[in-house]
């Protein structure tokens, strides 16, 4: 446990540096937020008054200190665009992004790991070449284009799936966790479950496709590497069945690399959600970020970017600790 605390304490300076960089970036950005809020017709007195009210007339370090001291008390201020507390807006949207991220991860893992492992086991076969070619195509597909094409075929032409939102208009869902799939299961609301699943399918596939492609390639090369290790030859020599050799000795050891890549790619998944949510008008944090940028809501933009960075950091930390569970030889 003390290792975890040490890692968390070590993260504090990095997170402080990140928050300061974002703060600095906001202040060197062209365009005064006060003028943007009041419009071009505002008098200099009005501008000066609002600057004072928002604390923008103070030196930058003082402003940063004010921001930090409010942040540790959970006060991140109000959004300039929505007029609501930033934390409330984030709280409302975060479950949608998490649900999308987990669904994409599920899509990626269920496609990538079996294909990667099978390709490696049958390496240089037709299946292997086909798998790797599809993976190369997957890595090269821009996910927003894939999303638009899915919308065109499955939404527009075939009319099979809804193209926007999280749930069909008119279907009520009782929010418990904010994750609609879980909530509809917990409340036994199967109408909502089907609607949520249909709404999630295309965004999750869009976001998960590139990750699936990357993980397929990594899984294959990682399994190939492990297959050449002496302990695999030993396992075979002592008469273990091929199934036992593959699952107990090869796949388990290859998992370390796969988990590392999945962890590293989770950040890409989170930032990729910005684009995917925009394509599908999915009401998550990414969509909120683009709305805040378009409205020049610097305060909300700043917090959302910081939040993405913190989430990325925490996920990477968790992945580090997951290693020791997968491979007990790794100690922290």
């Amino acid at each position: 446990m003390h290792k975890l605390i040490r890692r968390l304490l070590g993260a504090v300076p990095v997170l402080l540096a990140i928050s300061f960089l974002i703060f600095l970036l906001m202040h060197i950005a062209p365009g005064d937020p006060v003028t943007l809020m009041l419009g071009d017709n505002a008098t200099p007195e009005d501008v000066a008054r609002l600057r004072g009210e928002l604390g923008l007339d103070k030196p930058i370090l003082v402003q940063y200190w004010d921001f930090l001291s409010r942040a540790v008390r959970g006060d991140f201020g109000r959004s300039l665009k929505f007029g609501e507390p930033v934390l409330k807006l984030v709280g409302e949207r975060l479950p949608a992004t998490l649900e999308l991220a987990f669904a994409s991860l599920f899509v990626a893992i269920t496609i990538a790991v079996p294909v990667g492992v099978y390709s490696a086991i049958r390496h240089n076969s037709l299946v292997d070449h086909a798998g790797m070619s599809v993976a190369l195509i997957g890595v090269s597909l821009p996910n927003f284009w894939l999303g638009i094409m899915l919308i065109y075929f499955f939404g527009g032409q075939l009319n099979w799936l809804p193209v926007a939102g999280r749930i069909e208009y008119g279907i009520e869902i009782k929010s418990i966790t904010g994750l609609y799939l879980i909530d509809s299961l917990l409340t036994g609301n199967f109408e909502a479950l089907v609607s949520v699943a249909k709404h999630l399918l295309m965004p999750a596939f869009t976001l998960g496709a590139a990750l699936a492609a990357i993980v397929t390639r990594i899984s294959r090369s990682s399994v190939l590497e492990v297959m050449r290790q002496d302990y695999v030859t030993t396992a075979r020599a002592k008469g273990l069945s091929e199934r036992a050799v593959i699952w107990r000795h090869i796949v388990r050891n290859a998992l370390i690399t796969i988990v590392t890549i999945l962890g590293l790619q989770l950040g890409a998944l989170l930032s990729g959600s910005v684009v995917t949510e925009t394509v599908f008008s999915f009401p998550g944090i990414g969509d909120l970020l683009i709305q805040s940028i378009s409205a020049r809501d610097y305060k909300l933009t700043q917090i959302l970017i910081l939040m993405f960075a913190v989430t990325y950091f925490v996920v990477n930390l968790l992945v580090d600790f997951l290693y020791s569970w997968i491979d007990p030889r790794i100690k922290f």
Binding site: V14, I18, L21, I148, L224, R228, A268, V274, I293, Y298
Partner: protein, 279 residues
């Protein structure tokens, strides 16, 4: 000579060379001015479709602009931004990585701490953050992408330099009286080039997708410059009425990135001894 061993390099290289040619010779290849609007011909489908016109091979957009010409000109921005980012990010990353790895101590600590900060951000988010605050523009875009990519080069070069500086040829060069700067940039850094070329190739593919993503989100280059990402964003509203507005720019991005990835794969197969063993 042609060899199947280098098939990926040949195909990927050919695609990239064709695209570079397309970008450089855009005024000669593009049938029309990419900005010229012919409102009476707006939303014309591609030539081979019903209502298609032979004058517009890939059709026209909502303002009657020729899609083929816009796609040809769009390659300029994608390739220019991609190449500039790879060069600048490579220069900054390799220099810092080489200095950190070779000299160690304080230099290494500073570079490692700064890298850690940049690694704490997903690169697309760094680019979004910078573009959100600095605004649209080719210069801002290259800077945003460069700041989000340099750390990849830095990490790899630092790691390689750490191992290379202990090798006999470095000791020999020093014994002959060569200065540290000379040894580093004449003997050590050139030995990291194989890895750098592979990262740069894959990096270029990533940068092109990121640039298109940013332009799609309205955070890339100004709207009056035709880019594949902004064409996709504009065409999205007409997806059911005029699907060619999104299909062709997307295909252009896909083919470019596919070609570069293929080239990167081929180069990695040659340079990485571990992968050579796997084949």
């Amino acid at each position: 000579m042609f060899s199947f061993r280098y098939l990926k390099i040949w195909v990927g290289g050919a695609i990239l060379a064709l695209l570079v040619l397309c970008g450089v010779a855009a005024p000669l290849i593009a049938p029309r001015d990419p900005q010229a609007q012919t409102l009476e011909d707006r939303l014309r489908p591609p030539r081979w479709s019903e209502n298609g016109m032979s004058a517009y091979i890939l059709g026209t957009d909502n303002l009657g602009r020729d899609m083929l010409s816009r796609i040809v000109y769009g390659s300029r921005i994608s390739l220019m931004v991609g190449a500039a980012t790879v060069i600048f990010a490579g220069l900054v990353g390799c220099t810092l990585g080489a200095i950190a790895g070779y000299f160690g101590s304080t230099a290494d600590e500073i570079v490692s701490k700064v890298s850690e900060i940049f690694l704490a951000f997903p690169f697309l988010l760094i680019a979004i953050a910078i573009m959100a605050f600095l605004g649209q523009g080719v210069g801002n875009l290259i800077m945003a992408l460069m700041l989000s990519r340099w750390v990849q080069y830095c990490r790899v070069v630092r790691g390689e330099v750490l191992s290379l500086k202990e090798r006999d040829f470095v000791t020999a060069a020093k014994a002959l009286g060569a200065r540290d700067g000379y040894v580093l940039f004449h003997h050590v850094v050139p030995n990291t080039l194989a890895s750098v070329i592979v990262i740069a190739t894959f990096g270029m593919a990533i940068v092109i997708i990121t640039e298109a993503s940013l332009s799609f989100l309205g955070l890339g280059v100004p709207v009056h410059i035709p880019t594949w990402g902004s064409m996709l964003a504009e065409g999205r509203s007409y997806i059911n009425r005029a699907p060619w507005l999104t299909i062709f720019p997307g295909l252009a991005i896909f083919i470019t990135v596919f070609g570069i990835n293929l080239l990167g794969d081929g180069l990695r197969d040659i340079f990485d001894p571990k992968l050579r063993r796997q084949r």
